[in-house]
Amino acid sequence: MSETMTAEIADHPDARPAANERDRANHKASSIEMQGLQKRFGRDTVALDGVDLNIQAGEFFTLLGPSGCGKTTLLRILAGLEEPDAGSLVVGGKDITETPPHQRSVNTVFQSYALFPHLSVRENLAFGLKMRGMPAAERHSKVDEIADFIKLGDLVDRHVDQLSGGQRQRIALARALICEPDVLLLDEPLSALDAGLRSQLQVELLRVQKRLGMTFVFVTHDQQEAMVMSDRIAVLNGGTIQQVGAPSEVYEHPINAFVAHFMGHDNLFAISAAEDDWVDTELGRLRLDPDEQRDSQDGWLLIRPETLELDGEIPEGYNRLEGTVAERLYRGSRIEYRLTVNGRSLMAVASNLGQRMHNIGDRVTISVCPEDLVRVAA
């Protein structure tokens, strides 16, 4: 165990194995239990329609969904910035449904960062500690400690309006972490950053969470980001939870068409009839893994583009389709093809291993393993 730890830290050249880090890792992490949470805005807008959700201590948990799905409302209820109309919220075994935000050991990294403009960076970082009544000398050393941990360097002595977006983001994170809350909430903290900085900070954020072992609840509408970061993801729509699971589970076995679409799947085909391990779809008749049998006759068949093989050897028992190449997108590491099969459009992705590329108009034989086909409820 300790060997793997060392190996992991050695992977990160900027990691510093300090003694206080082990103390930080021992910091208590809290579980979250939500039961029957409901929230309406005005008469007609239902933001949350009965949410039951358990988040484990030390988990990186993501609330994923389109805008208006209720993910932000749920996060605000966790922070205490919004009061639920019904339901209960328990953090670390304590019911805090009625607790005002300033009495909750929960801190938030806001989307706009919300750094106080009238304070220096150092004063911003120390704000939470000061409000809790920590003496100035102790605050000072805590700020130095967190600045060291998040590697803020000389940012601490700057003024807030001298900071770039990425720097503000890190200050906002440090300002929340310094309070050592039971739960850290992150409201789309990376959405205002450009792509390069964003992926860099994703890794950094993940590393911080793993080292602290703190419970993180992360809100995003970006399924790629959700998959990279999370131990588990909850996909929300219309104020209800659609599916909860590990990234691979939600991506590979979406529970319904909404989740499948939201996780970025294009290849969904209506099932017109199902019998034993066969289904009839718009593409034709396809064989499924026996485990994929469902009681219902309808629903959707999901085909992941990366499971399709073009013009390869077709092993025994594999499904075989004929199509033509309608579009080719060269993406460098991979090549995407839009194929036309039976008048329907089917996406396929091939890793770019230097093989011959298919040209537009080429007829191709498509094969897919029955085990890679997933039935999805309507």
Partner: protein, 265 residues
Amino acid sequence: MRKRTLARGLAGIWWGTLFFLYVPLFVIVLFSFNSANSTAVFENFSLAWYRRLFDNEQIINAFGNSLVLAVSSSIIALVIGCLIGYGMYRHRHRKLGWLIALIYLPIVLPDIVFGISEMAFFVQIHAWTGLLEPGLGTMIIAHVTFQIPFVALIVYSRFVGLDPTLFEAAKDLYASPIKRVVHFMVPTIKPALISAFFLSFTLSIDDFVISFFTAGPESATLPIYIWSAIKKGVTPEINAIATLMIGAVAMAAIFSMLFNRQGRR
């Protein structure tokens, strides 16, 4: 060629405006240092009028009244206007938000109408209850009333300019309601508060019409004194008072601007 003519014409408007703005002030300041008792011919430099000014008990009284009135009304207006400004900010999305516009009445109402109605009101109250005898007290009430909308507006616009998430961040970072006021709201809008105070101060020092209608026999302010003295003609003594007022108001205005700029930085 024509372009140049146009540019010159426009520059002329600018210089003309400055001329009519500042030359009268300059003349007043200049003649306040005139040794002769004339507002037409300048003889020698002299501080005689200032000396006479400070020997005049009426003027000293009027100056004291002006100062007491301006400082106390500005402080009261700052507190009330600040609360109203925050209230306007908090309830800006309410359906009854238009009700808030009611406090802007003093800004658009002619001073003379405002002054007369305040006077009639105070006289009535005094007749019924014996309270609110015309004097500094009634003047302070009247001044506070017309200063409040200016303070409220400055405070409101400062709050509107803030990221609303800041209020939530303060809550989230363990600040109780009182600590939010002390450690977040007041420091954040401090430049606006100082700026609003100096604006109220200049408005009060400046005011003649409303003061005139609400003053009592003992509470003449500088503008009221000037008005009554001027009936005997403009003397270099008046010029000296005017010069001092120009200096005081200019200083308050400069402070107000400096603090407002600091707030925006």
